[in-house]
């Protein structure tokens, strides 16, 4: 969502140097070189450089430190910000406290405290630990220069406080607006030297914070306690709001328009603070849920002060870990919360687990928004009071207290669809109009730093195992993909081979059939040949017989012809004889005939004469 190329701080010219140095030194732990910090966008006057580094390549190539910063950025910046390896601790206001070298170690080794602390009971000690630990950690995480700015800011706040105080004490307004029971003297000492009050009067301070900050000075107290008032940051804000190229702008505007809660403040102010932060911390940019933290702040503070306090909460209080990619801070808080329930409220923990309900399902929104997603503002401002005094871990107090107070009710409920709506929307109902009760319950919730550290260790061990498992899984998945591919190839080849095999087998079968057919045909032919051969022999003899017979026939025919000739000769002589006989007979017959004709003529004449005679 954010431009992928981080913004590179200007470090190439002397002119820019003073600017970038001062911004880094404010925001960075003192043990770090200015080059190692989170990059901070330039003011508007330098905004030609304020764009993705790709457009700045010439500049980057000339500057190796900027390059190394660039490459280190995504891996380490968060870690460096949240947990410095060592810290230069100013002893101002914390005389008598032995501070361990890192906040992480501190959770194991509690600070040695002066004798006066022994008065409190153990729960009080624990509570106080968190206030003092918060002060120590803030100081460790702030550079010397940032600390100076904080002190300057403090002076401003002190002036504003005394103005308010005198206004309230004046006979004109004082009687109407000032709550009579507020211990203004004590608040004055808090504003004057918070660190010292935390050490000298821990019980009184704790009780005062638990009662809730007076509404009139809530904004001042938040800034005093967080040490957030910073002229350079406020100036930076004033320049950031003129930026036009804001990657998260659409998302921010869209969310503000659809978040009813943003109506409690000026929506434009809210949008400006969120946009400025998204530019200031490009790695986080804008995450849904941030608005729910900024709105309560904006209700008490001016825009630049709100920005500055939000920056402190994100960086120094490490709210940031809840908003970066993968949200490790949120997951850690959820785990610590789950374990606190397990260890401190076993029946409820078991009940929820049996019903399939995991803290992620309801407590994510509690932590990400500091309870302001669903909780009413009257409760939220009280939660903010304590979180600002004690740090992010105080969220666990409220979460565990809410669960403890709701235990009876939750145990009666069955199933996700009964329990979850209660946890998300109704668990705070009993504290409406009775905010002190919630704060009291939360304060009574014992938060043991050692236990939290133990849970954190468990969690990092779990995530390490989980990560290893997922790497393993990933390796297996990759090799599975490879094997699947090669398997597929082999299968394809096998299929080809099978097809070839089938073709060959078919050919073989066809061949066999052909051979069988040919054999049959061959047999037939052989038989035919044999038969023909036999026929051939038979006809051979027949032929010779025929020939001899023919000869015989010819001989016989010749004889026959001779005989015929003889016969003819004989016949001719015979014929001559008969012809002469016949000729004689014929002559006789002709003589007879003539005689008859003469007779006939005479008859005719006699007949004619007879007729004529008549």
């Amino acid at each position: 969502m954010i431009g992928e190329e981080p913004i590179v701080p200007r470090r190439s010219t002397g002119l820019a140097r003073s600017n970038s140095r001062f911004r880094h030194s404010i925001l960075l732990p003192v043990n770090l070189e200015p080059t190692d910090g989170i990059e901070v966008p330039r003011r508007r006057s330098f905004n030609t450089d304020f764009r993705p580094a790709s457009t700045n390549s010439e500049f980057r190539n000339k500057n190796t430190s900027a390059e190394s910063l660039n490459s280190n950025h995504s891996d380490d910046s968060k870690q460096r910000f949240a947990r410095p390896q060592s810290a230069n601790i100013s002893s101002t206001g914390l005389a008598g406290l032995n501070l361990s070298s890192s906040p992480r170690k501190q959770t194991h080794t509690l600070p040695t405290r002066p004798q006066t602390f022994k008065n409190g009971n153990s729960a009080n000690d624990n509570n106080n630990d968190f206030i003092i630990r918060r002060i120590q950690q803030s100081k460790q995480l702030r550079s010397a220069e940032a600390e100076r700015e904080t002190q300057n800011g403090l002076k401003q706040l002190q002036r504003r406080f005394s103005d308010k105080q005198s206004a309230m004490n004046s006979p004109l307004i004082g009687t109407t607006s000032s709550p009579s029971n507020e211990d203004w003297e004590f608040w004055t000492s808090v504003v004057t030297n918070y660190g010292e009050v935390a050490v000298r009067e821990p019980v009184r301070l704790r009780k005062a914070i638990q009662r809730g900050f007076p509404q009139e000075i809530r904004g001042i107290l938040w800034q005093v306690i967080a040490g957030s008032k910073s002229a350079p940051l406020e100036q930076l804000y004033d320049s950031l709001i003129y930026e036009r190229d804001i990657p998260c702008e659409t998302a921010i505007n869209k969310d503000i328009n659809r978040t009813p809660m943003s109506g409690r403040v000026n929506k434009d102010s809210l949008a400006r603070v969120l946009k400025a932060y998204s530019l200031f911390d490009a790695e986080v940019g804008y995450t849904q849920g941030m608005a729910f933290i900024v709105v309560p702040l904006l209700m008490e503070l001016s825009e630049p002060e709100c920005f500055s306090l939000f920056v402190q909460l994100m960086k120094i209080y490490d709210f940031r870990s809840m908003f970066v990619t993968d949200m490790p801070g949120l997951h850690l808080k959820l785990y610590q919360f789950e374990r606190m329930l397990e260890d401190g409220n076993e029946p409820l923990s078991t009940h929820l687990r049996r019903q399939g309900i995991h803290p992620t399902m309801y407590a994510s929104q509690w932590f990400i928004t500091l309870f302001s997603y669903r909780f009413p503002p009257s409760l939220v401002e009280r939660i903010f009071d304590i979180v600002i005094a004690e740090g992010l871990d105080a969220l666990l107090r409220f979460a565990v207290a809410l669960m403890k107070e709701g235990t009876t009710k939750i145990l009666e409920l069955k199933g996700i669809d009964e329990i979850l709506p209660y946890l998300k929307d109704r668990i705070f109902d009993r504290f409406l109009g009775n905010e002190n009760e919630l704060v009291r319950c939360a304060s009574e919730t014992v938060l043991v730093p050692q236990a939290l550290a133990k849970y954190e260790q468990e969690y990092s061990e779990l995530t390490r195992v989980e990560r290893e498992r997922s790497i393993q899984l990933e390796t297996l998945r990759n090799s599975n993909v490879r094997l699947t591919t090669s398997n597929r190839e082999l299968e394809t080849r096998l299929e080809e081979l099978n097809q070839e095999h089938v073709q060959l087998a078919n050919k073989l079968v066809k061949g066999s059939i052909e051979i069988a057919n040919l054999k049959g045909a061959n047999q037939e032919l052989q038989e035919k040949i044999d038969a023909t051969r036999a026929d051939h022999d038979f006809y051979g003899t027949l032929d010779s017989t025929l020939k001899s017979q023919e000869n015989t026939i010819k001989e016989l025919q010749a004889k026959n012809r001779e005989l015929q000739d003889e016969v003819n000769l004989l016949k001719q002589s015979e014929k001559v004889k008969s012809v002469s006989k016949l000729l004689k007979e014929l002559k006789a017959m002709e003589e007879t005939k003539d005689r008859y004709e003469q007779q006939l003529g005479s008859l005719q004449e006699s007949l004619i004469s007879a007729l004529e005679g008549r």
Binding site: Q288, M361, P421
Partner: protein, 226 residues
């Protein structure tokens, strides 16, 4: 026919980029309502709704997740063990379709093996097309006219359909605003849910039906009293 219908509980998760209308789809399905500016979901929301089918009741336990990519590390908690998923994109915003593709891939690799996934192209009302013409020819992109609520389609129907076909998903174009196809989505999923593991013959029947059959589902819509 039977007096006592069996009830099957189904864990369903909604996934998709921020502001594509996941919560609005659920609100339409559960309450038949629509809110123009629905609040962003932080973490996840949980709602239930029952669907009456002819032979049984399906009770959806719906996990409506936060859409912003930053919240992705919370999602496995919700899609783990989910029997069904609705992956939503905004038909007027192509990047949300890319994100939907990622969610489908993640569900395929990390989700339950037999998870039923419905791909839903929401905000159909902004395309300015008829609801009936959902399967018709794709209209060419219309330029985003500032001030006009009709933004025009930016993801083709065929793109969604192709992804659904490639991955074996149910596919609908829908509008939480007008209610178009919203019930159909959940009915189609309900109809694909095996009745109970105890009755394997039934589950086989449901499991075997791999193809998307919108026609059949719409004919069953009359039976849904959700």
């Amino acid at each position: 026919m039977e007096a006592s219908k069996t009830t099957t509980s189904v864990k369903l998760v909604l996934l998709g980029e921020a502001a594509v209308g996941k919560s609005s789809l659920v609100l339409r399905f559960v309450s038949d309502e629509f809110q123009e500016n629905k609040e962003p979901t932080i973490g996840a929301a949980f709602l239930t709704q029952k669907c009456q089918l002819s032979n049984r009741t399906v009770k959806f336990e719906i996990w409506d997740t936060a859409g912003q990519e930053r919240f992705a590390s919370l999602a496995p908690m919700y899609y783990r063990n989910a029997q069904a998923a609705v992956v939503v994109y905004d038909v007027t915003k192509p990047p949300t379709f890319i994100r939907a593709r990622h969610w489908v891939n993640e569900l395929k690799t990390q989700g339950s093996p037999n998870i039923i996934i419905a791909l839903v192209a929401n905000k159909h009302d902004l395309t300015g097309e008829d609801e009936e013409g959902e399967a018709g020819p794709v209209k060419p992109d219309v330029e985003d006219e500032t001030g006009s609520s009709i933004v025009g389609r930016k993801v083709a129907y065929s793109d969604g359909q192709k992804l659904a076909e490639d991955e074996g998903l149910l596919f609908f174009e829908a509008s939480a605003k007008t209610g178009m196809n919203v019930r159909k989505i959940f009915l189609a999923i309900a109809n694909k849910i095996p009745i109970e593991n105890k009755t394997p013959n039934q589950s086989n029947r449901a499991g075997a039906n791999e193809t998307v059959d919108v026609g059949m589902n719409s004919s069953q819509a009359a039976n849904c009293q959700c």
